[in-house]
Symmetry: C2
Subunit: 295 residues, 2 copies
């Protein structure tokens, strides 16, 4: 996805770890495990775990140790995709170029697979080994994930999204919606890397500023891609937002302004990295990639 | 529910804490918060938090400190009810004498309310204050909840339940199904009380033995009530299991044998409490209540 052999290596390692995670445990509940694996191992950019690894690297932590922890956000993200795709929500039947989970396994198993993926994300954070992570800091990590994805975080964002459909929305509220729906979890992933590297307060603050810019950037670009790209390139139904009367940044700002806003967010993200004195090159690369990605 | 003024007081305190938990936080996502509160505050026996408090008491811990922690399992249990009642699962439209969550709020909000309740349960365990709880032990608590409700626990039990409907099942598999579907979370609640009281290994083992007997007892009695009680008494549709061709203990064993099995499990539960030398009187009361309850 990006021309950096180290990043490519880590994305491969993340994929391998995800497969390993599912093979090492007792597969005693087959329909559930198959439904969980189906969407989790169906590809995807692995952006969230990658951000954890790169943030950990930028703060001088051990990336190898961070790897198992980084899977938690991919499980969490996958659960949210599986639930959001359900007929009573976004009613999507394509995802990552394949039929969505409920199309293959039925609605009940899709809901339950999502439920189990959420629980397993917390299991990973509680159980992954780390010789230098203070238990108090591990508790803080778990607390941050719970807050990021709970009733004031990701789920609240999805509820806002469903509620506001077809209604007028201003820019501030659209920003709040997305900071909840996707921003909170992205911020968690990036801060996780800092925690695992035992970052100090100023390091955590710089990561948080980077995360907030990148989270919004991600969404603005997503909206632009939905308008400007094709279903084939996206691997999911394009033009859906326009069709469904959903508020998007390009609709609210106009496409040229939305592009300018994305550029401004990229600048903010890169600026937040300045204090790292070069150890954060790859976080910068990822921000640029998020700005320029085509799917 | 039981003639013990201390137990009545604690059940009232649990109810008050649940209300307080929802009032103290920023209510910025109204439809979600209302859906979460609707089922959570719709009554219920509060058996799970109560078991935490009684286990904590039996091990000489501070019940007052345990109270906020004890809510986690009620949130978790409520999420599982909301999801299990969905049309694509058990398709129940009555619960605790009221229309089920999706009947009032729609399927999307019901699914999302369940999702948020799960996340909030983990938030409580990570955030509730406790001056003597070692962070390492708090991590162990979170790890136990994640395992109890994940793909080898509660969710796996629900999948097994849906899968086996209408198919022959033997006693061993029915026990496994229920130990996952309801037993794992009950065991967690009871062990949580021990953790919060800083119980040693032998104390935790005795609690676990009690929990395993009580968990199964709870289900056997549930099955018997479904066969023998009325919809009015239960506050949910009675006779549903018989009608839906679901395997139950009375169907597999015959009603008299199922009653004898329940008696035997009660004995096992009471025997597990013997090592506590009288400090566990109320855990014994609860076990007897579970055996004799009528709804």
């Amino acid at each position: 996805m990006i021309e950096d052999s180290q990043i490519e290596t880590w994305v491969d390692r993340i994929d391998t770890e995800l497969v390993r995670y599912f093979s090492k445990k007792d597969m005693s509940c087959n329909p559930l495990d198959r439904a969980m694996e189906y969407t989790l191992l169906a590809g995807g950019k692995r952006l969230r775990p990658l951000l954890t690894l790169l943030a950990c690297e930028a703060l001088g932590g051990d990336v190898e140790t961070a790897l198992p922890f980084s899977l938690a956000s991919e499980l969490l993200h996958t659960y949210s995709l599986v639930h959001d795709d359900l007929p009573c929500m976004d009613n999507d039947d394509m995802r990552r170029g394949k039929p969505t989970n409920h199309v293959i396994f039925g609605e009940a198993n899709a809901i339950l697979a999502g439920d189990a993926l959420q629980a397993e994300a917390f299991a990973i954070l509680a159980d992954a080994p780390h010789s230098n992570l203070k238990p108090q800091r591990r508790v803080a990590i778990i607390s941050e994930l719970a807050a990021a994805v709970g009733r004031a975080g990701m789920v609240a964002g999805q509820v806002m999204d469903l509620e506001q459909e077809g209604k007028p929305i201003d820019l501030e509220r659209l920003r709040l919606l997305h900071s909840r729906k996707t921003g909170c979890l992205l911020r968690f992933c990036i801060r996780l890397g800092g925690h695992l590297a035992d970052a100090d307060e100023s390091g955590m603050e710089a990561l948080t500023n980077y995360a907030d810019a990148v989270g919004l950037l991600f969404q603005v670009v997503d909206d632009l891609l939905d308008e400007e790209s094709s279903t084939e390139k996206l691997g999911k139904t394009a033009g859906k937002d326009a069709e469904s009367n959903k508020a998007t940044f390009p609709k609210l700002l106009g496409a040229p302004e939305a592009h300018a806003y994305a550029d401004q967010l990229l600048d903010q993200a890169l600026k937040a990295l300045e204090s790292f004195n070069g150890s954060s090159t790859r976080l910068g690369e990822i921000a640029r990639f998020i700005r320029s990605r085509e799917h």
